[in-house]
Amino acid sequence: MASAAATDATLVEAARNGDVASYGQLVKRYEAVAHRTAFALGAGDDTADVVQEAFVKAYLALGRFRVSEPFRPWLLKIVVNETRNRWRWYSRHRTVPLPLIAQVLASPVRTPEQVAEENERIRSLRDALAALPRHQRDVITCRYLLDLTEDETAQVLRIPNGTVKSRLSRGLAALQAMLRPTIAPEVVEAERRGV
């Protein structure tokens, strides 16, 4: 995607020179992923404010952006930081927002039992994710819910790649432990028999 990167760089250059319209194009290009990222990482009802603030801050920080680097993770880093500022405020008030995940809608190809089962599974996954320590949850969210690469995750969360790997594996292990009875009943059963 060299051409896209070059275009980002061009827009950044123009925006640095005060061309707000060019920056508007960058906003349009990345608003979807910024919005989704802020929400998935816990901005909750404040998502729109958080993202808007992040875009404004990014604009003012453009002077520090290295045009040889990809713009997307640089921007998302600012989005994540802004989101964290919200959490910190929330943390004092003990109401940490978590991303809500819609339930599976009834469908003609599924029986009501299947739908109920699937909803239950979604709830379990969501609750397990919510129960993870935040640093693990963030890595899982970035990698799987936001589909960021390992490099992007590292950059966005400001942690080394090795830490992304270790948090991911620790997080997955913790999730497995929490979800074990429903994820693999046959394994649980086998273990029970084996004891």
Binding site: F39, V56, S91
Partner: protein, 276 residues
């Protein structure tokens, strides 16, 4: 007992990955506003002077709180965040995502610890032991162990965050640790962290539950772990990770103690029991 074959573990990890990737499709993201227009209006509204609104703290927090947010970070066990909140169990669970002695094996490329304990650890203000006793609301205890010289003492008495740190230079029996470069580091924090311990243990962290002096609940862990930092703004900062040596944390009569040094569990417990 339970013994997972690595292959089975990997398979389940992959299944779980796939499930979470699917979950991404079900993320109930709220409607997206027209950011381009909003941002453009913001940028153009102040004829270029957008700065005044830039650092607006969330929800219009201004004044001392806003300024504190940029104040010097004080390193402290993040469990203090739990201590400082009259926490119900649910609240602890909420906070856990932010707080904690994160007991995890550090990656080899982890940031190297700073060299001197006072600057590296930001333990607070250097004081005499008598001054420390005057400045905090809890009784300050010292380990009574042969071979320890008098400690350097640091105090933090920010609102809602009181701690005393004792720093002992390396001696025989208390060699310098790679993490702290000192022989023994003792932290004392106002507050009780018992629910937090429970959570840590529930989370399956590699810690050993112990009892100090036959009475006080605690945990001991040897894996290098990161310590989150908390600023005087009451916020938790994760951006200064430090590797820590084997650590014993316990709670005694409303005070949480943290002992860090090159000590095995038996010796750590002996030092802890000697605290008077």
């Amino acid at each position: 007992m339970v013994s997972d074959e690595p292959r089975e573990v990997n398979r389940r990890a992959r299944d779980l990955e796939a499930e979470f990737r699917e979950l991404a499709q079900k993320l109930d993201v709220p409607a997206r506003p027209d950011y381009a227009t909003r941002v453009r209006e913001r940028l153009e509204s102040g004829s270029g002077a957008t700065r005044p609104t830039l650092w607006r703290p969330p929800f219009g927090f201004t004044g001392p709180l806003g300024r504190l947010a940029t104040a010097t970070i004080v390193l402290v066990l993040a469990m203090v965040i739990v201590l400082s909140v009259p926490a119900t169990r649910a609240a602890v669970a909420d906070l856990f995502g932010f707080a904690g002695v994160n007991v995890r094996t550090a990656p080899s490329a982890a940031p190297s610890p700073r060299n001197t304990v006072d600057t590296a650890l930001d333990l607070g203000e250097p004081v005499t032991i008598d001054e420390a006793r005057q400045r905090v609301s809890f009784p300050v205890s010292l380990p009574v162990v042969p071979g320890l010289d008098a400690p350097d003492v640091y105090v933090t008495d920010e609102p809602g965050l009181e701690s005393v740190s004792l720093v002992y230079g390396p001696t025989t029996g208390f060699p310098a640790t790679a993490a702290t470069h000192v022989g023994l580091l003792v932290g004392e924090y106002a507050g009780t962290a018992t629910p937090y311990f429970d959570k840590l243990i529930e989370a399956g962290e590699p810690v050993t539950q112990v009892t100090v002096d036959g009475r006080w609940p605690g945990i001991y862990f040897t894996d290098p772990h990161q310590i989150l930092v908390r600023g005087p703004d009451g916020l938790v900062h994760e951006d200064r990770p430090r590797l820590a040596a084997p650590t014993l944390v316990w709670v005694r009569e409303g005070v949480t103690y943290r002992l860090e040094g090159a000590l095995d569990m038996t010796n750590a417990l002996a030092v802890a029991a000697s605290m008077h």
